[in-house]
Symmetry: C2
Subunit: 775 residues, 2 copies
């Protein structure tokens, strides 16, 4: 846990500010200033062109290419890797004055400031360009993505000459000729460029997946004249001349319409083409400022029901708002069938693949902030159930085996030791369904989507596991649990426990449908194709599922035999040997009792109420010292549990860099993209950690406390259609229920506060913080 | 074990005969009719060219190319695969008559017969070619490799026109333009072709390893005139006209001189070039028939001390002689630094890589047939000790970690689960040193080569293992034993046992040198760089080495936890699911108590005398039913042990296809090359199996019995410089000691026969077969 901050941005409660430009941070800034609206994402690159280090990334959710590896001689090992592909640069601009082109790597500039306003998602950049002839031009760039209409991105460039009159040339267009950074290749073909009056468009297809992207840009503003239009294979641009009048602003605005067609079917392409055409025709009616206002309103609403405030810690205040902002940028259920890549839409690392992080870390965020988004995430798994079933077949299992890494729903991890041994993506889906149903009671979803998924996952769990030779214990052999430092183990506690939970939840739901819809149950069972015999097999497995546990110590054994593994003192490992994957021979990592991230403790967070405080303490004190937290998701889980154990300093230590992981570039790889799923964990770290919220019981629970570093803090969650605002200082915690118009609200909300059932209404409820919860 | 014979060749006690040509078997025949002399090997392809299916393989021991794979992001995973490279075709010939070229895929032929005479290693092929003009020419091809001078290969072509006179054109030359079958590429560059009077030569270099091969051919015979010489980039040929006189033989002979230079150092290349030149100059003095006589004499000597005869079973008689022949063809210690590829020099499967098979299966054969060859095999490991030490470093170990697959000494297996987890190549080297020293008392070898290897292997074993958390047990975590169906296991019985043996043997040898050479021991310890402290660490590990064993049942547990693994009835697996690697998803293989090949039982063969008959029975009866014998080496081990347990029918069942695995193409992949290391196991199957020989005790032991399918059999071994001939029938076993001139013989040999010490001398000793050993 020896991580240090590399602080570059200015601190501000609502803004991310880069004051002055340091090229050494250019790619870090590109990541941090990424904009996204789930449908698309664009890194904070300099749209006017930049010859310094840059990952000029413009991405669309679910638009990907494939890397086809040499096929393994063994069965069930995928050889196709999907990766999010860098797409059309719809901000493409060049600014030329007296034969000189603005380029922050070469031009003489001053007064550089870049600001991302978290309140409305608008990114601005201002600078003064001193040209070679000694003239000065103040330049302001503004960009934002519409949150109301996710197909729209906007750009404004405002110029002001200081002390002279003249003209300036602006190239404004579209560029699909860029290279994907990691592959150093362009993945677009069949580009078709068109130009119209103050309009350019480009349509292109991905090379092997045949997906389509359309981008059309309408330009407006103080255009003096159009000088030229330049069309080449994968680029199209207008060349405009703008007037420069001393000390007066000249503007050019762009409204970009971006559409994708993920499926290359004839029908889909027809619909897509129609949409693009219609959008193009209607684009004349769009107004830059109106779009901005609408989008700002959208963000205002977000902050109204999802803000977290921290008094006395502006660093973490900025950090947590950045996190909340990123979560909504990345996902808000705009389009069914999208998922959340480990880096969101902010970079190319992890190939844009989604992992079990989605259900495990991101889903709770959305359940308590944006239920429609939560549902959409689960719909992704429902839509890709056929791929998961195909994958199960490849793995000689029945049912559905969800991929450990994916974009399209297919398994994209070609390391068999992860893709074939890790069952937690599948059980995380079951957990997600459980949590969603618990907080929505959405029986229609359960009937149509939830049950088919649960049944197929259960079916996989019933064929992937085995009974011991003597038939007394059921469990999973040759697996890797969430802790990726123990490989090919038997009876991994997490895996067995989650499987038991999944099978039980499926059976419970079958019973519930039988009770609730007795008239349909036969039809439903037929539709789901589940027999009573199968159900009874599952019951048998549940009864005999082996959960390695030592009654004497209260310790769950992470896997069979874990307790007798050779011990390693993780603190004795020299700092320069981290990350271990780079410094230790591969197999050496797996031969001792060191763990990479929580496994037993993860279980204790997910099903917190099922374990006693004593069990939690015993297991925390056993496993935490063995954990090296090599996953960025690990510290937050430990922070939450440490808080529950009143290990407040330890909790704060783990929390310290959660909210600012990317702002302070703790892992020194923010240049590759933001740690989007860790951002979700940072939110959990406050709400579940200091806020002490627990969502796994019959009733929502809170046991808030405040770290001694803070004066007070507050967080908001959306719960049963209301917003609950929790404000905590060192003495009291106050709970307010606030109705939000668009939701149908309960009049009274029952929650548990410090173990006591409490009814929340509009009137604030203030509770003294019990002694043991004081820092 | 449901394997069936695909019998194609004629049965004969001394010959392999192909009577009539079936193109469907052409590549199987190429493998079976391979010739080799350790230095080089050449498949039985048709040298006159053949447009049908062929792997036109000509190989040199230790001449290889590299396949460079994408580097893994993980440490210690090799990305370079070495493979034996197809080299110059030094038999290149074309036979043209009246514009027609002989091609067995197209020409009209009759009376085809091909014969490999195991007595002298001469391969002949005769046929009658009916040309398109209706003329008939009898053609005889003869080839052999010199066993006296391994650089020499010879070819004779004899032609006889039937009913006409005329002339015939023969193209005779060298061709380095052939493709490697698997890679479909030619791996030669810088080819330099030269021609002289009745002489052609070609020198070329491997593309990436820069090794050199020289081939020079001298032609003689009834050459009427030289018509032309054709030189292209990688081929050189003479075009000769030979006379055809009705019913008379016309001959052309070739003596090919082949030299390789494995190291591309300046000095090595100079020596090599000198050798080639000298050989070329002296080649005029070589005579085809003299070379043939010398080589025949070499083979006569082999059969004198290594023959096995079987009365009443001509199939196995032919089979075992083919095995013995192949062993000597593949290896006889001609050149230090050679090893034995899994397919010998007969094909490209397994990349020509050598495995632990060398020490485990082949070494015993050579120890009892050709001690110089046995020593050479160990010298290979000594010479490649630096590579093994380099490999240990890559794996974060001290000392030496011998590669699981290699040509040059470097690890060539890029599957980490084998290359990083399997320790048996290293411990097999220690076992080989032990066996060699036991039967030679070669203290010089021990001092110079054995000890350095043992110490470095011990050092690896002392860093690769760990103590349990409580410090009570030492052993190996995350390993794969010889049974490759259990991966990443802890305390594999075989691995722990072999490690204990290796550490103990090393310490014993240190003590012995201290006792034997007290005046040198300080120097020696300094030279070996081994401290007493290190030795005492090893002693500690030996004492605490955990050998999983159940006192109650007498069962050794293959690995910690094996007994509680889910059970699978291997007989219930449908036959069409084999081989499992092709039909089962990769990880599924590893999740039950099924084993691929002997692991505990292997130990019980290697250290047979250390286990009681009851232990052997218990373990055999437990493990054999769990074994699917997917390794071709497995049945012989089981046959030997079944015989010891008087399970004579079972023993014979396992033996059945051992000697004829390739002749009858049991695995249907003989086309890819012979199962050379299985051939060594077939020899063990008779000598250790039915002959009941044991070589791991203080004294050589025999407990012969005869399968009821045979009238009698005899085998010969070389032991302490004499040949022991053991002849067994259903009633008696007779032992004769026969002095062999080239060895310095003991006058009396002490051996154990059925547990009783017996002195062998020239006079035969006949012993009644005890009741329990009768079939």
């Amino acid at each position: 846990m020896a991580k240090t901050a590399d602080r570059y941005f200015k601190t501000d409660p609502w803004k991310i500010i880069e004051d002055g430009f340091d090229p050494a941070y250019s790619e870090v800034s590109e990541s941090v200033f990424s904009l996204g609206n789930e449908y698309m994402g664009v890194r904070g690159y300099f749209e006017e062109g930049y010859t310094g280090a840059s990952m000029t990334g413009s991405y669309f959710n679910g638009i990907y290419e494939q890397d086809i590896h040499k096929k393994s001689g063994y069965k069930g090992i995928t050889n196709v890797t999907e990766f999010m592909v860098n797409s059309v640069n719809w901000l493409y601009t060049r600014i030329c004055f007296e034969g000189e082109t603005l380029d922050l790597a070469a031009s003489c500039i001053s007064s550089f400031q870049r600001t991302l306003d978290l309140r409305n998602g608008v990114l601005t950049r201002s600078l003064i360009w001193k040209t070679q002839s000694g003239k000065e031009i103040a330049v302001l760039f503004e960009r934002f993505l519409s949150m109301q209409n996710p197909y729209i991105g906007c750009q404004k460039i405002r110029l002001q000459p200081i002390g002279f009159d003249g003209e300036i040339r602006i190239h404004a267009g579209l560029d699909a000729s860029g290279q994907h950074k990691a592959y150093e290749k362009n993945f677009w073909r069949n580009a078709a460029c068109e130009t119209g009056r103050d309009f350019v468009s480009l349509m292109a297809q991905t090379v092997s997946t045949g997906q389509r992207v359309y981008s059309g840009c309408r330009f407006s503003g103080d255009i003096l004249r159009e000088e030229d239009e330049i069309v080449s294979a994968k680029t199209v641009e207008k060349v405009y001349i703008l007037p420069l009048r001393n000390r007066q602003n000249t503007e050019i605005n762009r409204i970009a319409l971006n559409y994708v067609c993920k499926e290359p079917t004839e029908e889909a392409v027809r619909v897509f083409t129609g949409k693009c055409l219609a959008a193009e025709q209607a684009s004349g009616q769009l107004h830059y400022e109106t779009i901005k206002e609408d989008s700002t309103a959208w963000w205002t609403n977000v902050w109204e029901h999802s803000d977290i405030t921290i008094e006395g810690d502006v660093l973490n205040q900025q950090g947590i708002r950045f996190c909340i902002f990123q979560m909504f940028q990345t996902y808000h259920g705009a389009v069914a069938g999208d998922n959340i890549g480990a880096k969101g839409l902010t970079g190319e690392a992890y190939n844009g693949n989604a992992f079990w992080d989605t259900e495990t870390y991101c889903l709770p965020f959305f359940i308590f902030n944006d239920m429609q988004a939560a549902k959409s995430l689960l719909i992704f798994r429902y839509v890709t159930l056929p791929e998961a079933m195909e994958r199960a077949k490849e793995l000689d299992c029945d049912g559905a085996f969800y991929p450990i890494a994916t974009i399209s729903g297919k398994e994209c991890c070609n390391l068999w030791q992860h893709a074939s041994l890790q069952l937690q993506a599948s059980t995380a889906v079951a957990y997600g369904i459980w949590l969603y149903e618990k907080y929505t009671g959405d029986r229609d979803f359960m009937r149509e989507c939830g049950m088919p998924m649960l049944i197929e996952i259960s079916r996989m769990l019933a064929t992937r596991g085995s009974y011991t030779a003597d038939g007394t214990r059921y469990g999973y052999y040759g697996v890797m649990g969430p802790d990726e430092f123990q490989m090919m183990v038997n009876h991994d506690c997490y895996t067995n426990y989650m499987a038991r939970f999944t099978l039980q939840f499926t059976i419970d739901q079958l019973s519930r449908f039988t009770a609730e819809e007795p008239e349909h149950i036969c039809d439903l069972r037929r539709q789901w194709n589940v027999s009573e015999r199968e159900e009874s097999n599952w019951s048998q497995m549940i009864r005999q599922m082996y959960i390695p546990y030592d009654e004497r110590t209260g310790l769950f054994e992470q896997q069979e035999g874990f307790f007798s593994l050779p011990h390693i003192d993780v603190d004795s490992i020299p700092i320069e040997e981290f990350p271990l994957y780079h410094h230790w021979t591969y197999d050496r990592i797996y031969r001792n009792d060191m763990i990479k991230q929580p496994d037993v403790l993860m279980l204790m967070l997910l099903f917190n109420g099922s374990f006693t405080q004593e069990e939690l303490r015993a297991n925390y004190e056993y496993y935490e010292p063995r954990c090296i937290h090599e996953s960025s998701l690990s510290p937050s889980v430990h922070s939450i549990l440490a808080n529950q154990l009143h290990k407040t300093e330890e909790a704060y230590d783990f929390f310290k860099f959660a909210t600012r992981m990317d702002l302070d570039n703790y892992n020194r790889n923010t240049c590759e993209g933001l740690h989007t799923t860790s951002i979700a964990a940072a939110w959990m770290n406050i709400v579940y950690g200091f806020g002490g919220m627990r969502s796994d019981g019959e009733m929502l629970c809170f046991q808030p406390s405040v770290p001694k570093e803070w004066r007070s803090y507050s967080f908001r969650i959306v719960y049963h259609g209301d917003v609950i605002i929790v404000t905590v200082n060192s003495e009291t915690a106050t709970f307010v229920k606030k109705s939000v118009s668009e939701y149908c609200a309960d009049t009274k909300l029952h929650v548990m506060i410090y173990g006591r059932e409490t009814v929340l209404a509009e009137e604030p409820v203030t509770v003294d913080i019990p002694g043991e919860w004081k820092a």
